[in-house]
Amino acid sequence: MKEPDGDATGSRPVRVRVTAPSTRSASDLSALVRAQSIREEELDRDRCRRLVRQRLRLALVCAGSFAAAILAAATATSFFAAAVDPLPIHWLVLCAVAFAAMLGSASWFIHASNALDERFSRQRDGDGP
């Protein structure tokens, strides 16, 4: 029977010693991987928590700005109450200010929220601080 790994000159193939890694080093490697995974998990969790906090703060600031605008407009229009027959015009002014404040708050929130998402993505990809 021919030696399967032999060459034409009939020399013996180079013996390669194959040994299983020791149990101790395998467990070390596993622990290392596990520890790294846990660290990444914690890092992810911290980033997510930070994202949630930042988004909540942003939402509260936008809502507060809207409320402040409404309050200011309501107070101002109550001082300058005027009627153009047949409608008290100050209520229309209040409506217009409120609508503008809503749209302004909404666009601010969407813009800032997208920026938060992008920063979060960059951090997750390791490109950012």
Binding site: C48, L51, R55, L87, W91, M102, F109
Partner: protein
Amino acid sequence: MTTQFAWAAIGCVIVLSTVAGVRGLSIARSTSDFYVASRGVRPWWNASAIGGEYLAAASVLGIAGLFLGHVEDATWLMIGYTGGFLVLLLFVAAPLRRSNAYTVSDFAQARYDSFAARRTFTVCACIVCCLYIVPQMHGAALVASMVLGVPPWAGPLLVAAVVAATVLSGGMRSITLAQAPQYWIKVASLLIPLIVMVTVLASQGGNVPAREIALQQADASRSPYWTVSLLVALLLGAAGLPHVLVRFCTSPDGRTAQRTASLVLLLVGAFYVLPIAYGMLGRRFAGKATSPDTLVLVLPERIVGGTTGDVLTAIVAAGAFSALLATSSGLIVTIAGVVSQDVFGADIRGFRRAALVATAVTLGVALVTDSARLTDTVGHVFAFSASTLFPALVLGIWSRTVTSYGAIAGMLTGATLVVASAVAWYALDRPTGTFGDLLAQPAGWTVPLVVAIILTVSRLDPASRSRLISTERFLQQIHTPEELPIPHSSGLKT
């Protein structure tokens, strides 16, 4: 003559809705189509559909009528109805969509990991939808008796028949196709008569005699509590309405849901220019005997008159009927969605059975109850939603420590207090003064109380610590942008 034109105009709306339903039937095949239109509805279409669904009879018929003596109420109602979408955008839209829930009950189960919380959400959602749909049916009775020349009961029956046909055929897929055009029908139906009326007035050089100044009473000033409480109810209640929330589950992703909410803000705000214009005209030309809820319907005949006036009245009636259909169909889909999963089985057959039962029950309730003023009735629905669904939903989205017991305790308290207040207010014949304000506008004191109860009970609940990790994973899922892989996703699958 008005009757024939009105039948023709309303017939067109019915045909359009039915065609959309049939079209939906040819597209809708999966359960996901029936519940959330397979989450493929783009922002403009979805925003139009939400506008069609949200701007109900109270907005189309009721708001303009308030200008006859309650301009302050009308102003705050418009600000609150519109501003609710800002609250929804800021606190709810994207996280709700990212939870992959089909209904608010699904969200409750995924977040609180509790069937009891799910059932509580289901019951509250059904109450909100039923309370909301009954005034729509009353509005249908009003339109039917005023412009169609049929008995009042025929209006709700007609609405129920069309809604059942649309919803049964293709669920959310069908009504999305119907509701988006219905928003634009509503806008056109108020805008076209308005342009004609203004043109007629301008051509006569302002020489049209005012009937009598239509103010039914001087513009009464409201207490600061009343105003704040009304705004709390509207802003938070709108963000907790289940039929509006479920529409955000049809968006492809969280970012699209945010964009949809901002577009709705624009569309709803733009729509309210029309009731303001009608209100201004109404204060001058409507006549003292005009009922606030019928102002929009009678104004074209009063100002233009003749055949043109009849045609314009018919167009306005079609718009009002379109509002009734759009809102009712959205509400029926929402009830069917939450009920079918818990009672009839979460498949197409169960959905259809639930829709049929929901339509029959709400029709029955509408036929045996009297119509209060539209804006009053809807106001209590917003207070209920703000005191039950909204706090449990928002605290569930933003707080890690809120537990199912806390949410349930808060919702039950809120529901009990708001219902008791509304019943007492009607039973005592609408009392005035501070006590009357507390009963008429309960949200100002019920919402803070409910939030306090949810937080306190959750803090005392021993499960709050043991479930912290799973809750945190869920919150990670709903707050993380979609394009990223979620490392430890535990929420629902699409």
